[in-house]
């Protein structure tokens, strides 16, 4: 078991290097001189030179062969990519071009908001998706099943940014029930403990704060939860249908066990494995989907920040956040693989 985990951990390393390579290559996609692109057309000569110096853009991208000809072996490795990689090893994602603050600092500040939104969306998706999927499989070809199938297809077809806009239209503009954006009303404060506002409000016993935070988060969370809910419902349903055809389910029913016991104790346990994989994959999509949802609801997480940075052509931020999400995505998949091996004894660890 430990050997399997170690092996799986080692396979992540080349993938991680590949990921950094792709993100590094982003910079090469910028048409023209990246330094000029970063600063805009009207940048002064010195500023361009300073940015080139700061980001090592005056160095070659991968290896410096000229240094080698001059007999400088260390200089051979002094390149943009090696510098980039070296900075990454020191948890340095570079500085924002416009605000001149380290990207890492802003990530620390904004990531909790994104995590809170993603967690709540996942919670909604699980609470709604799994029971409906089970019910739909248990009552196969009934009206409920039909509605579920069509509903989940619609769920994966709705553009989440459009759903978000329609929510704002209806609940904020027309009914004026819920705020259209932000994380908290102005003047409202919640003592930070974990930086997840809902949790913090509960921990500090801040009733009005909890209510206010809930009112802000509920619309974006629902918008973000649509696709995972639909996918988890479909997956639970089809996985349950597979399991319900097994002999041991028939045996369980035949010996007179109640439907509920058969469904939950015998079937669900075995139907849950594929669902776990899907949940893992969905966590990555939730973080990425945040770019759209957070933009619409002015949610102060990393998604909105990336959007603003794209518009402001603040490339280090886009690179940094993409890397962060890819790494989180990789780690979640790793955890899913490992938990899969733990949960299903039929899977060999070799």
């Amino acid at each position: 078991m430990g050997k399997y985990i170690l092996k799986r951990l080692i396979t992540v390393i080349p993938t991680l290097i590949g990921v950094t390579l792709i993100i590094f290559l982003f910079q090469r996609l910028i048409p023209g001189d990246p330094a000029v692109a970063m600063l805009g057309e009207h940048a002064s000569e010195e500023n361009v030179a300073r940015i080139r110096e700061q980001f090592g853009l005056d160095k070659p991208p991968f290896l410096n062969r000229d240094a080698l000809v001059e007999g400088d072996l260390a200089g051979f490795f002094d390149s943009q990519y090696v510098r980039y990689f070296d900075r990454l090893l020191h948890f340095d994602l570079g500085d924002s071009i416009h605000r001149r603050i380290p990207v890492v600092d802003t990530i620390k500040e904004r990531f909790p908001a994104t995590i809170e939104l993603a967690l709540l969306a996942m919670l909604i998706a699980l609470i709604v998706g799994i029971p409906i999927g089970i019910l739909s499989a248990a009552r196969r070809n009934s009206l409920i099943d039909g509605v579920t199938r069509i509903g989940s297809l619609i769920g994966v077809s709705i553009p989440i940014f459009w759903l978000g806009i329609m929510e704002i239209m209806f609940f904020s503009v027309m009914l004026k029930w819920l705020p259209s954006g932000g994380r908290l009303s102005p003047g409202m404060t919640i003592e930070p403990v974990t930086n997840l506002l809902l949790l913090d409000a509960l921990l500090t016993g801040n009733g009005p704060g909890f209510w206010d935070a809930l009112k802000h988060i509920i619309m974006p969370a629902i918008a973000l939860a649509t696709i995972p809910t639909a996918i988890i419902t479909r997956m639970t349903r089809s996985s349950m249908l597979d399991v319900l055809q097994e002999d041991y389910i028939r045996t369980a029913s035949a010996k007179g066990l109640g439907e509920r016991v058969v469904l939950f104790r015998h079937a669900l346990k075995n139907a849950f494995l594929p669902v776990i994989t899907i949940i893992g994959i969905q966590i990555g999509s939730l973080l990425a989907g945040g770019v759209l949802t957070e933009t619409i609801f002015s949610w102060p997480g990393i998604g909105k920040w990336v959007y603003d940075s794209i518009l402001g052509r603040d490339y280090p931020i886009v690179q940094g956040v993409t890397l962060l999400i890819a790494v989180v995505f990789l780690l979640v998949n790793l955890l899913v693989d490992i938990s899969y091996a733990i949960l299903d004894p039929r899977i060999s660890y070799e």
Binding site: I22, P159, I325
Partner: protein, 410 residues
């Protein structure tokens, strides 16, 4: 002169089941499925209106502007002043939304279709080859080609360092030699590695020395490594796992985010959106094609054609491809739905179509800033267009899965 009564004619009277191909059977199952029909109808409506509008309904977005008709609510009858009828209302520049939604379909669907074609073509071929060679040995020619290419690719590094392009050619020859003499010292792999390593070291080192001593040293070390790699001719399995490793790297990004990031750096534009979405989709099709090939590559008909000595190309395209088409068609249909959604997302973020070109996502992105004015129609209709077209492809894909693979029916 004489009547010839053909005996064959009599024979054909035999009561045989009407010949139906697999595809005709699938088509019959498809049109027997109500939800699939619904999907088919939706897709047909969108495709026909988009194509029809593009060719027969003139529209020049550059001059479409009418401040007098700004943000009008939908109307179905002409009012007293005889104003134009706008069944979907107008947007903030007074443009008829119905017209833009119909014309937007051309751009939105085109991005989806071209993006899926890119991913399908590249990913499909990669997956096909990876799956096939995972279980089949490379023949002599293939091995020679691949090992030479590997030599050329690896040799490019020392060649670049020393600025001597012909070094790469020498390494290519080394690879070719390794493939041609693959039986030479085959039972003493370590000695073979040493031999090739030394040859590689000599190529890199000696040529590098001509430039500078340090260049010679570095090239010798690199050449040693390349020689050791080339000592063992490429196996099908190595090729397959390398391809899938690269695919895994692309897959380790959430696809939405990778597409957004690529376009953020490339700059906005419909074509760049197509490239980004197409690139992101490549591993999906590669994985699918590979696993589909693996599932049929041990079937009797493939083994039979192998044993009678059919060429690899013929086995692949005559026997394997026709039998793995169905999952790929299903995935491509569903993939179209995804690609349209991603394209709309890019457009919404201002990274797709450049204004004033009509595109559903961009129209939404344009109008949602005017939400507080209560102009619900400006965001409702482009969104509905996205949703229904995506739903159509999803329904069709679901129906196709049932029709093409009755065993998988759930």
């Amino acid at each position: 002169m004489t009547e010839i009564i053909s005996e064959d004619q009599l024979l054909t009277e035999f009561a045989v089941r009407e010949h139906r191909s697999l595809w005709l059977d699938a088509w019959r199952r498809l049109i027997a499925n109500r939800t699939a029909i619904l999907g088919l109808v939706i897709v047909a409506i969108f495709l026909l209106t988009a194509i029809g509008a593009h060719f027969f309904w003139e529209y020049d977005p550059a001059v479409d502007l009418d401040y007098n008709a700004k943000l009008l609510a939908p109307t179905f009858v002409r009012n007293e002043e005889g104003d134009q009828v706008h069944i979907f209302g107008t947007d903030k520049l007074g443009r008829d939304i119905f017209r833009r939604v119909v014309h937007g379909g051309w751009n939105s669907l085109r991005v989806g279709i071209i993006a899926v074609s890119i991913s399908l073509l590249i990913g499909g071929i990669l997956g096909l080859l990876a799956g096939f060679f995972e279980s089949t040995h490379l023949n002599g020619v293939e091995q020679a080609v691949l090992t030479s290419l590997l030599g050329l690719g690896c040799g490019a590094l020392p060649a670049w360092i020393a600025n001597q392009p012909f070094q790469a050619l020498l390494f290519m020859l080394l690879g070719l030699g390794s493939a041609l003499f693959s039986t030479f010292m085959a039972h003493r792999q370590n000695l073979r590695k040493v031999l090739f390593g030394v040859i590689g070291m000599a190529i890199g080192g000696l040529l590098g020395l001509l430039v500078a001593p340090l260049v010679g040293l570095v090239c010798a070390v690199v050449g040693l490594g390349i020689g050791i790699i080339l000592a063992k001719p490429i196996s099908g399995k190595a090729f397959s796992s390398f391809t899938m490793r690269v695919m895994d790297i692309i897959l380790s990004f959430p696809s939405y985010l990778l597409a957004i990031a690529i376009v953020a750096f490339l700059g906005p534009g419909l074509e760049k959106g197509m490239i980004a979405i197409g690139f992101v989709g490549i591993p999906v099709y590669a994985r699918l094609a590979r696993s589909a090939v693996l599932s049929v590559s041990q079937k009797e008909y493939v083994l039979a054609s192998q044993s009678i000595g059919e060429s690899h190309g013929r086995i692949l395209f005559r026997h394997i491809v026709p039998n793995i088409l169905s999952p790929i068609i299903v995935q491509a249909t569903m993939g179209l739905a995804d690609a349209i959604l991603s394209a709309a997302a890019l457009g919404f973020l201002g990274l797709g179509a450049v204004p004033p070109i009509p595109e559903w996502g961009a129209m939404l992105g344009d109008s949602y800033k005017y939400l507080s004015s209560g102009a619900w129609w400006a965001v409702l209709f482009p969104g509905l267009a996205i949703m229904f077209s995506v739903l159509g492809f999803n329904l069709l894909g679901d129906g196709l899965r049932d029709a093409l693979d009755p065993k998988m029916r759930l």
